[in-house]
Amino acid sequence: MTEIKRGVLVKSLGASLLALALVACGNGTPPVTLPPLGVSALNGSYVFTASGTSSSDGDYSVIGSFVTDGKGNITSGVADYNFGSGVDDNVPLTGTYTVSTGTATVTLTDGGSVNDTFTTTLVNSGTGQVRGFDGTGTGTLYPQVTSGFTAPGTYSFSLAGEGDGVISGSGEFTAAATGPFTAGNLTFTDAQTAQSYATIAGYLGTPETGGRGFANIEGNNLAYYVVGPNNIQMMGLDERILLNVPAQKQ
């Protein structure tokens, strides 16, 4: 989708919502709330994912979380970067953001003063598309709710990324209260090579600050971030393999 078409769509959507709000008021049902237009529109905890190719850094994947104050500041955050040739994990973040005509521009600053910028269109559901991360990277911005999440349980997950070639797959695991998997399976393809595991080993640790935790699936280390009580996003922390692994608690 081009930016022009997206802009038209956003405008059309805005007009539709406005019309819907007017109609709703007219028939006595609760009004539809439009996203606020200022920095207060981005207020709370968020998880973000992105991947792409940077002109200076090459292919990368990133996952993280941050907290905004509703005043244009990112007060805290943490992220994990995988560049395929190396990993920079547990990176503390601060930053700033602006909101203009429903689009937030977010600048993340790591502890070494390196900046990453991305934009996202604010929508009522709170889950938006990340655009232009580190240049051209794309991903997703999720509102984060860590309360109610506990690590033990059964999860279904999918795999996507780069290894020897394009990786895709899916599976399931059951994490015990102490973390280790008690059951699970995995099927994936990497560069035309398909593999299937009837059982898998691994663990899912307890999340720490920012809803960030560690996981391991069949020897692959991952950082995970709690998105909601039944939803986590994972990313591979092993060099040479870029893995994005969203998982849903059953």
Partner: protein
């Protein structure tokens, strides 16, 4: 409990210790014997990265030039003289001295050292200035280096009269670490045997009983002497000093960032107070700003002039107990460092003295002024200072210990944070036994109270002061590697 490191509070509380130990302030630092206190191979990550394993940090006013302050960082623990040509610094790592001159435990000035290649053909570049970023993730200061020097070359002079040295040196750390380990694991009870009740080393004919585990070994040293004015703040003559080693993470946007994996402030803090394994890694990854919040609960309460358990568990009571057990006189123990009338009223005294884990150095005090307890364990850390015996003696007189009922300190535990020793003499927390005698008896008994440590090699009389490396075993004037007992 919320503690904060600020000069006013630390000075007020610890000045009492300084006052009572003032007679130590004139110890002859110029004789530069040896120091102990260290973190040799103390955590999993640095165990695998010896070129980044800080064994010790020293900071002191230059004995030959009172306008300068000297900082020394050692890595490569237990370097064998016979393999002396194989030790160097890593060209991948960023070595840093960090200096806080405002009292907030955040670096205001840094001295960064980078090496251009692996092996002893390497050249070190020294950068000094205000850091671009602070904390555990750092970047190299911009601009040209303030000084450069080749490995094992004579000290070089750079900008502002800065002197620098890098190379192989004798390990100046003195510690009976083998016996320390035996006491902790229960195979021995004390550094020196007492009758048949306490297992320990026997007294030798020369009046010693301890063995310096680090004698005969070398380290690689980074030493720098800089004008005080480059490090001192505008509001105070006191600085906090710590050393770090960092390694690069993948560059982003063309910028290389270094992430800290090792640090050291006061001697042996991690070895004594942080549980081994992953917690020590975590402490090495952390920054002093967070120490009070992270580690206060690992440090016992200090005894005060107030009886905290109804058994006479005061500083005076502890002194009386140690004396009654014969542990305050040679040959079974060392004389008390603090008088029994020592007037501490804060149970947080040890926490304030130990946290944040930095060396506190008052640049206005003459070289050789130890000021034990005034700012931390000592004023900076001179090379020749007894950096194990003094902490042992402070801890044995000040640490709250939960002894068996009927003994001073044997009352209800309640909310006390105390070391456990309910089955005395087989204390469940063996650190009680480690500190019981107050010294490790490496040097002759007649010199126990001079608070110099007795290194196996003489210190130099000029910069870089740290002793020359041990030559090949068997060479003239060598002592070889001593038999470890």
């Amino acid at each position: 409990m919320k503690l904060s490191m600020n000069w006013t509070r630390a000075t007020v509380v610890l000045a009492m210790m300084a006052g009572t130990a003032a007679y130590l302030a004139l110890a002859p630092a110029k004789h530069m014997k040896k120091v102990y206190g260290s973190d040799h191979r103390e955590a999993p990550t640095v165990d695998g990265l010896p070129e980044g394993d800080i064994t010790d940090l020293y900071s002191f006013v230059d004995p030959a030039d009172s306008t300068k302050v000297d900082l020394i960082m050692n890595v490569n623990p237990f370097a064998e003289a016979a393999e002396g040509g194989s030790y160097a610094f890593s060209p991948d790592f960023l070595y840093q001295f960090k200096i806080d001159n405002t009292g907030d435990a955040r670096e205001d000035q840094v001295i960064q050292i980078k090496f251009d290649q692996a092996g002893q053909g390497q050249t070190a570049s020294f950068y000094i200035g205000t850091p671009t970023v602070t904390g555990a993730r750092n970047t190299l200061l911009p601009g040209t280096p303030a000084a450069t020097v080749k490995f094992n070359a004579a000290p070089a002079t750079g900008a502002n009269g800065m002197q620098v040295f890098v190379g192989l040196r004798d390990d100046p750390f003195v510690f009976d670490f083998a016996q320390f380990t035996r006491i902790l694991n229960g195979s021995q009870d004390l550094f020196r045997a007492v009758g048949s009740s306490f297992r320990g080393r026997p007294v030798r004919s020369d009046g010693t009983s301890g063995v310096d585990t680090f004698a005969g070994f070398n380290v690689t040293s980074i030493a720098v002497s800089v004008p005080k004015t480059l490090l001192q703040g505008t509001a105070s003559t006191k600085i906090n000093v710590w050393a770090t080693v960092s390694q690069p993470v993948p560059p982003r946007h063309g910028q290389t960032t270094y992430v800290q994996f090792e640090r050291q402030g006061q001697q042996a803090f991690s070895t004594i107070f942080i549980p081994s394994g992953a917690p020590r890694d975590a402490e090495n990854f952390e920054i002093p700003e967070h120490d009070v919040a992270n580690y206060s609960n690992l440090i016992p309460d200090a005894l005060t002039t107030t009886d905290n358990d109804g058994t006479g568990n005061t500083i005076a009571g502890r002194a009386a107990l140690l004396t009654a057990e014969g542990l305050t006189a040679l040959p079974n123990g060392a004389p008390l460092l603090l008088p029994s009338s020592f007037g501490n009223t804060s149970k947080d005294l040890l926490r304030i003295g130990l946290l944040p884990d930095v060396q506190r150095l008052d640049l206005s005090l003459p070289a050789g002024t130890l000021s034990i307890g005034q700012f931390g364990l000592q004023n900076g850390r001179p090379l020749d200072y007894s950096t194990i015996d003094v902490p042992l003696q402070l801890l044995r007189q000040l640490s709250d210990v939960h002894f068996p009922s009927g003994v001073t300190g044997g009352g209800p535990l309640g909310s006390r944070v105390a070391l456990g020793c309910l089955q005395f003499p087989q204390c469940e927390d063996r650190r009680v036994l480690v500190v019981l005698q107050g010294t490790q008896f490496i040097k002759p008994d007649a010199t126990i109270t001079n608070y110099l440590d007795g290194n196996d090699y003489p210190f130099l009389s000029a910069f870089p002061y740290i002793a020359t490396p041990h030559p090949l075993p068997g060479a003239a004037n060598t002592i070889d590697c001593p038999t470890q007992q």
